[in-house]
Amino acid sequence: MKIKNNIAVSENGFVFNPASGESFTTNQVGLEMLNLLRKGTDKEAIIATISEKFDADASLIEHDLNDFSEMLKQYHLHQHEES
C-alpha cells in the first residue's frame, strides 16, 4: 500500500491530510507503520521491523497492520494505484 505523498505526519503521531483538511492521531506503533509505509517498505519487512522493535509476535503485528491499512484506506490516506 502506498500512502499519499502530501500527507503530513509529525513525530508525535499527528497526521494531517492537506487535501481534505482532516487530521488524525495515531499511537507509537501506528506511527511506525505509517512511516514505513511512506518509505515504500513492503509488508513483510514492516512486520519484521515492528515485531522486533516492540518485541511482539509477528502474527499479531500482521493482524494489526492489516487493520491499520484498512483504516488508512477508509480515511483516504492511501494512493489509489496500489503496488
Binding site: 502530501n6 503530513a8 494531517f16 492537506p18 487535501a19 481534505s20 483538511g21 482532516e22
Partner: protein, 350 residues
C-alpha cells in the same frame, strides 16, 4: 532609499462582527497589512451596534448609510456627503443585499472619485440562488437540484424529486435543513418573514463542505484562490474555525468558474464533495467572505489585491499559499462609552 507607499482612503461595509459576522473587520485587518499601500479606513454602517464602529484602532471614522431598501438615490446622496469630507479612493461593499446598489452606482461613484472592483450586473444576477440550475447548465458545473417557490404548497411537489432532507433557503441569507414536510413549511415561513419571497428549495447533497475564496480579474484569470474546510460550525452554519487545504479539484473548479464567467471581483464558492468525490456548487457569494483573514494568513491578501485592481495598479496572480493553517474566531467584549453610542445614533457619524 525607502520607497514611499501611497496612502489610500478605503471605505468598508460589513462592520457587524457578530455571531453571523460581516466580513468588514477582517477586510480592514487585511488592508492594514497591505504591503503596497497604507490606508485610512472609513467604516460604513447600517446599525449603531455594529462592533467595527467602535474599533478605533483599525477604523478611522464611521458613517451610517441608508438601508438598501431605501433605494440607490438615498445611498448616492449619502455617499456624496461622505465623499466631500473624506475623499474616498476605493469602496469595498461586503453584503450581498447592498451589492445591487453599489454595482448600479458604479459609474456615478467613479465620477465622485470612488472606485470599486465588483462583479458586473449580469454576473451578479446570473449567480443568484434562484438562477443556479441554469448557471450550472450554462457553465458545465454540477449543482444540486433547486427551485424557487412562492407558496409552501409547492414544497410538496419537490419532495418526490429531491427526497428528504431538503434545504430551505432565503433569497439572500439563511438556510434551514428540513427533514419533514412540517419542518419545511415552518422553515419557509420563518425565512420568508425575514427575507421575503421567493424561497429556494434545494436538494441536499450528502458529503463534506468546502469553501473557496478568491479573486477574478474580469478577464477570466484567477488572481487568488484559497480553499478551506470548516472545522467548527456555529448553529447558524458559519465557520468559527477552519483550515486551509490543497484540493486540486476544488481549485480546478474555481479556475473553470473564473474562465467561464470572467468573474470580476472577490467571491466565495460553497462546494459539497459527495462520497464519489464529485463537487457540487451550492452557492456563489459575490463578495469577500467573513473568513478572509485566513487567506491573508496563508499568503494571499485578497482585499489588498482587490484594492489594487480597483485603482488600476498591476496585480500579479498569487501562485502559492500555505496549506494546513487554521483560523479560530473569537468573541471580544469592548467597553464603549454611552457618548459614542449616542453620537453615532444621533449624528450618524463617529
Amino acid at each position: 532609499m525607502k520607497k514611499v507607499k501611497p496612502k489610500l482612503t478605503i471605505a468598508v461595509t460589513g462592520l457587524n462582527a457578530i455571531d453571523s459576522p460581516g466580513p468588514g473587520v477582517a477586510v480592514i485587518r487585511a488592508l492594514h497589512e497591505a504591503e503596497s499601500f497604507d490606508c485610512r479606513i472609513i467604516g460604513l454602517a447600517y446599525e449603531s451596534l455594529e462592533p467595527g464602529i467602535y474599533m478605533h484602532d483599525i477604523v478611522d471614522k464611521t458613517y451610517h448609510i441608508p438601508y438598501p431598501s431605501t433605494g440607490t438615490e438615498a445611498l448616492l446622496n449619502r455617499l456624496k456627503y461622505i465623499q466631500e469630507k473624506e475623499k474616498i479612493d476605493v469602496v469595498i461593499p461586503n453584503f450581498d443585499a447592498e451589492l445591487y446598489s453599489f454595482i448600479k452606482l458604479k459609474s456615478a461613484l467613479e465620477q465622485l472619485g470612488i472606485r470599486s472592483f465588483l462583479p458586473t450586473m449580469d454576473q451578479f444576477e446570473e449567480r443568484q440562488k434562484i438562477n443556479l440550475p441554469e448557471f450550472g447548465k450554462k457553465h458545465g458545473i454540477k449543482v444540486p437540484g433547486s427551485k424557487a417557490v412562492y407558496s409552501p404548497g409547492e414544497i410538496n411537489k419537490l419532495e418526490s424529486d429531491y427526497g428528504w432532507p431538503l434545504v430551505i433557503k432565503g433569497k439572500y441569507y439563511d438556510a434551514i435543513l428540513a427533514y419533514t414536510r412540517e419542518q419545511a413549511v415552518s422553515a419557509y415561513h420563518k425565512i420568508s418573514a425575514k427575507w421575503g419571497l421567493p424561497i429556494i428549495v434545494q436538494e441536499f447533497i450528502h458529503g463534506t463542505e468546502y469553501n473557496v475564496t478568491g479573486l477574478g480579474d474580469g478577464a477570466g484569470n484567477t488572481i487568488a484562490a484559497v480553499p478551506m474546510r470548516k472545522q467548527y460550525i456555529t448553529d447558524k452554519g458559519k465557520a468559527w474555525g477552519g483550515i486551509s487545504i490543497t484540493d486540486d479539484k476544488a481549485l480546478a473548479l474555481t479556475t473553470h468558474f473564473l474562465e467561464k464567467t470572467k468573474w470580476r471581483g472577490a467571491f466565495e464558492l460553497e462546494l459539497m464533495k459527495d462520497k464519489a468525490g464529485d463537487y457540487y456548487l451550492l452557492e456563489i457569494n459575490p463578495r469577500i467572505p467573513a473568513w478572509i483573514y485566513l487567506a491573508v494568513g496563508v499568503g494571499q491578501n485578497i482585499p489588498e489585491a482587490l484594492t489594487k485592481l480597483a485603482i488600476g495598479l498591476p496585480t500579479a496572480p498569487f501562485t502559492t499559499y500555505e496549506a494546513g493553517k487554521m483560523f479560530i474566531r473569537y468573541a471580544w467584549d469592548m467597553i464603549v462609552s454611552l457618548k459614542e453610542f449616542e453620537q453615532i445614533s444621533t449624528t450618524g457619524e463617529l
